[in-house]
């Protein structure tokens, strides 16, 4: 699509030039509409990828302060990237919307409440200690949630009602050697860094524990690198580059210190697909910074989802026969962001599970990072649709590779919701996942 962005704007900002090139690849065919969750809910061009591309084109052409309606529609995008995955012309929507959001944050002054909420989320989420505190605060406010609406209500609704697990010892910086065999130490087949994440270390410590057990059992040495932490995605989703970049750089430093150390690093393993998508894009995010471009690209090239990595090294034969019917919910960041479609399902099948797909599996569940807090109406509609689709296949367990979706769906799915690695760990000799233990599963 031809755009008429003023030359001065193109010269001033290479990201605007990039936006122009990406817009130029769009032929306005409309195929993206078929996969867009907000279009499925709203049926309106402005709430579709093609419409947003048009809105961004206008935003750059006009320059200056974007209008409120444009911001509203860009805000409603879940960044699920289903559009990018289906686009026949290869339009890189992820980059376009990321820079579009940065432009909005730079030029548009949000109403006070919106600003405060965003600021709060950007600061809370990456910091496990603050996040924990916020949940305690939220617990106190929860009984009064009926008095609130919109984002405040959504935040209070999200506060877990069950006790939080205690911080896990595995989430402290350290190195885990492969599991010894017959009492003898094993020479590591591979050495990987594990991103233990921010929210995950607070909400569900079992995921990292299972991942480490699983990797050690496969002869892999696992490092939780000192200085690594939140991947920066929560801030980046809100277009807040200033908050995101220090986190990104801290991770790059932490991992490259390991990679360039005496023992080296074969991969950076991620068990939260939302974070994986973001880390794989570090190279792009820092491409214009000469001091960081190469380092960031190295980190992105080493990033692997845990299922990608397991397929590479090969899964051990299952030792615990489960034979359970698992409905696999593919997170958007997994199937669209990273285009990892078959690996998790293949691994689950190899581990002895019967794997079922979710109908309309391409549609986002509405979680999308902080989206369920910022856009609760659309998020709830998508959540209800996803839950209905999950229930429709009559599985015994649901599995997913992203904590965000699990938090969004687990409470109301009507069946235990676990992380893919917990099932793989269980089947290859680990303990039965806590979410399943003692539960009465649906009959065969």
């Amino acid at each position: 699509m031809l755009s008429h962005i003023p030359q001065a704007a193109l010269d001033a900002d290479p990201n605007v030039q990039l936006a122009k090139d990406i817009i130029g690849n769009c032929v306005h065919c409309g195929v993206c509409l078929s996969r867009c969750p907000t279009y499925a809910v709203k049926h309106e061009e402005n709430d579709s990828p093609r419409g947003r591309i048009f809105l961004m084109k206008d935003m750059y052409e006009k320059g200056g302060v974007p209008d409120a309606k444009t911001v509203e529609h860009l805000d409603r995008c879940l960044t699920c990237l289903a559009c990018e995955a289906i686009c026949p012309s290869g339009v890189e929507y992820s980059k376009l919307i990321a820079h579009g959001r940065e432009y909005v944050e730079e030029h548009y002054k949000r109403p006070l409440f919106q600003r405060a909420v965003r600021e709060l989320l950007v600061r809370l989420i990456p910091n496990a200690r603050l996040f924990r505190l916020a949940i305690f605060g939220g617990r106190m406010g929860r009984p009064f949630r009926g008095l609130f609406s919109g984002t405040m209500r959504a935040m209070l609704d999200m506060v877990p009602t069950t006790p939080l697990p205690a911080p896990s010892p595995v989430d402290r910086p350290q190195t885990f050697l492969p599991e010894p065999e017959g009492g003898k130490a094993v020479k590591p087949r591979k050495r990987v860094a594990l991103l233990n994440g921010c929210v995950q270390t607070v909400l569900d410590t079992a995921i990292n524990e299972a991942t480490i057990r699983l990797l050690r059992r496969h002869g892999v040495e696992v490092v939780v690198a000192a200085g690594s932490g939140c991947c920066g995605a929560p801030a980046e989703h809100m277009g807040d580059e200033a908050q995101a970049l220090p986190l990104v750089k801290a991770n790059i430093d932490a991992w490259l210190r390991e990679a360039d150390g005496p023992n080296g690093l074969d991969a950076i393993v991620i068990n939260t697909s939302g974070c994986g998508t973001s880390i794989k894009a570090y190279g792009h995010a820092l491409r214009l910074d000469p001091a960081w471009a190469d380092k960031a690209a190295r980190v992105s090239a080493m990033a692997r989802d845990i299922t990608e990595f397991l397929v590479e090294i090969g899964l051990q034969k299952p030792t615990t026969p489960t034979g359970l019917r698992v409905v696999y919910h593919s997170a958007c960041s997994m199937q669209h962001g990273q285009r990892i479609v078959n690996q998790p399902k293949d691994l689950l099948r190899e581990a002895g599970f019967t794997v079922l797909d979710v109908p309309e599996g391409y549609l986002c569940c509405g979680s999308a990072g902080t989206y369920n807090l910022l856009q609760p109406d659309i998020a709830n509609e998508l959540k209800a649709r996803k839950l209905k689709n999950i229930r429709s296949v009559h599985a015994q367990i649901a599995a997913s590779g992203n904590i965000g979706c699990m938090t969004q769906l687990a409470g109301e799915a009507g069946l235990p919701f676990v992380h893919t690695v917990e099932l793989l760990d269980w089947a290859t000799g680990g303990p039965e996942p806590a979410a399943i233990k003692g539960q009465k599963l649906a009959a065969e």
């Binding site: 699509m1 031809l2 130029g24 690849n25 032929v27 306005h28 065919c29 409309g30 195929v31 509409l33 078929s34 049926h43 309106e44 061009e45 402005n46 093609r50 419409g51 048009f54 809105l55 206008d58 209008d67 309606k69 444009t70 529609h73 289906i86 026949p88 012309s89 290869g90």
Partner: protein, 497 residues
């Protein structure tokens, strides 16, 4: 490209009209904000854009009816739009017209398994019909490339085709009944709820199918469902020359085989596609035919043998036959990726569609090569060969002044060559605004006048999608009812019948 002069009087009433329409469809479903109207400025052709006066998204047939009645009373034009995928500018908005979007009318209302009929709303995407009945082993056959999102209402308006229409027919062959609203707000039911229900009735449904939104707005459609063929296999056939590939098309049909699909790709397309699918095509290949055969396993195996023999006799240098569904999908992927692959070779491309008798394929393809030299623009060919439906892809750069105009002229020359070869201007994309001014090449003035009389019978005030299809506005006053005022016949100098 000229459009009817917008009425400033109507434009000046925008706010009042918006208010009136909001009372019909609810406040959220009338879009009047500047920023929000812009994404509706074009459909699948971005070369033509116009800002709609208002965008209205009705939520049910009654609201469509009320919107039309309201606009008719106010003398406001209506442009119907589905998902906005038209490649002929059929849903190009008018600055003094309301864009009536059917995307909220997206429910499959009923499925009658026994009679193999589904009743659907016009905003249902084509593929969703098949998805809704696939558990019954049924499908909706017409499959335009845009089927993931193009709506059935739009398919009816354009009489859409697709790869499989060679064997199964186009949209018109799969519509059994419809409910439609005329510009006056009058709701009509045409056809019936099952195959044969419309026997004996004047085929007004046939008139509406392919009428490009000029006659009525369809609000419900009864479509025919077909059993999904038991087996489908595809043969990929390479030829050393375009002529031999074209001759093979006629030869296959000549021996009595009607393939489910028969597609042509030239070398330029193959080179572009091979980058995407990471597969090399034989160096000697100048053109490739993909021939799909479907039916029962025994039938398909026999047909594969017949077609393979014909292809060899016509000089095919390589034949690949799919043996599994995976292989079939892989062979088809080259065709499915063709347009995006070409899109990577050039900043912009323009794809038009004309249809010619199959035996004229080599002649018209050769003419295209000459035109390419004349305009200095590269092109590639990838089309539905079985029904002679050409889709030349003309490559240009919209940022270069004059390039779009050259591409349009090149496209027009191709279409003129199609008509001169005994063909027609459009195979499946419709006339819209894109081919409107070429209508005089295919039809005589009397032909066009006759067609416009049909338009006048449905929409005497010319408010429904005016400026599309016909190179001149309908002059309904000139024919139709003869109005004699004070003994003076108006427009007495116009020839009458």
């Amino acid at each position: 490209m000229q459009m009817p002069e917008p009425s400033q009087a109507i434009i000046s009433q925008r706010d009042a009209l918006a208010q009136g329409l909001r009372q019909i469809v609810g406040k959220d479903w009338v879009i009047s904000d500047d920023a929000q109207r812009r994404p509706y400025q074009c459909d699948g052709i971005t070369a033509y854009m116009a800002m709609p006066l208002l965008v209205v998204l009705p939520g049910c047939a009654d609201e469509v009816q009320a919107v039309l009645r309201f606009c008719n009373e106010k003398g406001v034009k209506i442009v119907p739009r589905g998902s906005g995928t038209s490649l002929s500018g059929g849903a190009l908005p008018l600055e003094d017209g309301v864009l009536l979007v059917t995307s909220r009318l997206c429910n499959v209302l009923a499925v009658d398994e026994h009679n193999r009929v589904a009743r659907v709303q016009p905003g249902v995407p084509n593929i969703k019909i098949t998805e809704a009945v696939s558990h019954l082993g049924l499908c909706y056959m017409p499959d335009p490339s845009s089927q993931l999102i193009s709506t059935i209402g739009g398919n009816v308006a354009e009489n859409a085709g697709g790869v499989h229409c060679l064997k199964y027919g186009v949209t018109a062959n799969h519509i059994l009944g419809m409910q439609a609203v005329l510009m006056t707000g009058e709701m009509v039911e045409l056809g019936g709820a099952y195959l044969g229900a419309a026997e004996g009735e004047l085929d007004l449904m046939g008139v509406l199918t392919g009428s490009e939104g000029l006659l009525a707005v369809v609000t419900e459609i009864a479509v025919r469902l077909e059993p999904v063929p038991e087996v489908a296999r595809v043969i990929s056939m390479s030829f050393p020359s375009v002529e031999e590939a074209c001759a093979c098309v006629g030869a296959i049909i000549g021996v009595g085989v009607i393939p489910a699909g028969l597609e042509f790709m030239d070398r330029k397309v193959l080179d572009a596609v091979s980058v995407l699918i990471k597969e090399k095509f034989d160096d000697r290949t100048a053109a490739l035919l993909l021939c799909e055969l479907d039916g029962t396993a025994v039938e398909v195996d026999a047909l594969v043998g017949v077609v393979s023999d014909v292809a060899r006799a016509q000089g095919a240098i390589e034949l690949k036959v799919s043996t599994t569904e995976e292989e079939r999908q892989r062979i088809w992927s080259s065709r499915k990726l063709a347009f995006s692959a070409i899109g990577k070779l050039c900043p912009d491309y323009y794809c038009t569609d004309g249809t010619i008798p199959r035996n004229k394929l080599p002649e018209v393809l050769n003419k295209m090569a000459d035109m390419s030299k004349k305009y200095g623009l590269d092109y590639a060919n990838c089309f539905h060969a079985g029904d002679g439906n050409l889709h030349p892809i003309i490559m240009y750069d919209a940022a270069k002044p004059g390039d779009l105009e050259k591409a349009e002229e090149f496209g027009a020359d191709v279409l003129i060559a199609c008509v001169d070869a005994g063909g027609v201007l459009s195979g499946e994309h419709g006339i819209g605004v894109e081919k409107r001014d070429l209508m005089t090449h295919q039809f005589t003035e009397i032909d066009l006048q006759q067609q416009q009389m049909v338009k006048c019978a449905f929409d005497p005030k010319d408010l429904l999608n005016p400026g599309k299809m016909f190179p001149t506005l309908c002059r309904c006053a000139e024919f139709g009812r003869m109005h004699v005022h004070n003994g003076n016949l108006r427009f007495a100098d116009i020839p009458r019948f």
